[in-house]
């Protein structure tokens, strides 16, 4: 089976997000006074084949551990969809 995994990588609480801060200032300058906080992360999409959804999820989790997420500063949230 084929799966598409989407990994949402976010900076942990307490880790300075300089990009988020700059974007916050820009949004305010554009008149969006309601904005209180901006955090910027990244989204990684992976297409993989696996025998089952659980197996696919396990594989993606181990990819996060091996390379995709630095646990000191980031968290990764995995979502999965079967694509045939």
């Amino acid at each position: 089976m084929k799966f598409r995994a989407r990994i949402l990588v976010s900076l942990k609480e307490g880790v300075l997000d300089t990009q988020g801060k700059a974007v916050l200032v820009s949004l305010k300058n554009l008149g969006f006074d309601v904005v209180e906080e901006v955090r910027i992360g990244k989204s990684i999409e992976i297409v993989l084949s696996a025998g089952s959804a659980e197996e696919a999820e396990k594989k993606v989790e181990s990819m996060c551990e091996a390379l995709l997420v630095n646990p000191l500063i980031e968290t990764g949230r995995v979502s999965l969809e079967a694509i045939g």
């Binding site: 880790v15 300075l16 300089t18 700059a22 091996a66 390379l67 995709l68 630095n70 000191l72 500063i73």
Partner: protein
């Protein structure tokens, strides 16, 4: 006495380091390709040079830290061999878990290319024994991700263990966060591992090794390493 300088795709300070070691300091140095699984057998010092390994994709140093050669670097460090990571090399060492912490984007979001004053916090390491403690040196920095970050409790442990070797400073000798050009916590510019044989720093000593290039404060690092390896500084 032999040095190996690892070359990753995107390294751009490898030749400067080879030149500083070989031609200026008189430490024979050879380039080593990142796909080699082992270091040359007679390696005493490994340098991970500056640059933009793998285009800084994903996170600075992340892919380089998973290169085949890193296994050899790890072995070398475990045996007590000297490892020096400069700029991108420092980022690689943190990503490989050979040094604690992470380097985040500079607080002003700019690429900073500038001479920088640093205070040498320790003169009892293999890399800094030629500098008396508290010496101010000027090395240039050139980076976009140089903000040293470590969660508060671990940062305190790092300070308690005296692992901070270089701190951003001012001409009056004061050093600390207020002098970080990049927002580095506690003004940290360079650290060692707990056994002291692995050093990472953001500033470039190899670019401060010849008068022609504006200064020679970096020579102390090469001479420190040389006398350590010769046994004089142990």
């Amino acid at each position: 006495m032999n040095a190996s300088v690892v070359v990753f795709p995107g390294s751009n300070c490898d030749r400067d380091v080879l030149y500083a070691l070989g031609k200026i300091a008189g430490i024979p140095a050879v380039p080593v390709w990142h796909k080699d699984p082992v270091l040359p057998e007679d390696t005493d010092l490994v340098v991970l040079p500056g640059g933009f390994s793998y285009g800084d994709y994903l996170r600075c140093g992340a892919m380089a830290a998973r290169s085949p050669i890193i296994q050899g670097v790890r072995e070398h460090a475990r045996r007590g061999g000297l490892v020096l990571g400069i700029c991108n090399g420092f980022q690689v060492l943190t990503e490989a878990g050979l040094l604690p912490g992470a380097l985040l984007a500079n607080s002003n979001l700019e690429f900073i290319c500038s001479p920088c004053l640093l205070r040498v916090e320790r003169s009892d390491t293999p890399f800094t024994n030629a500098y008396p403690e508290g010496t101010l040196v000027q090395f240039p920095i050139a980076h976009h991700e140089g903000l040293y970050f470590l969660p508060e409790r671990e940062l305190q442990k790092l300070e308690d263990n005296r692992q901070v070797v270089f701190r951003y400073a001012a001409a009056d000798g004061s050093a600390g966060a207020q002098h970080s050009p990049n927002g580095s916590l506690n003004g940290i510019a360079g650290i060692v591992n707990s056994s002291g044989n692995v050093l990472g720093l953001m500033p470039h000593p190899e670019r401060a090794s010849e008068k022609l290039l504006g200064g020679t404060d970096g020579l102390g690092m090469w001479y420190s390493i040389k006398s350590w390896l010769e046994g004089g500084a142990r």
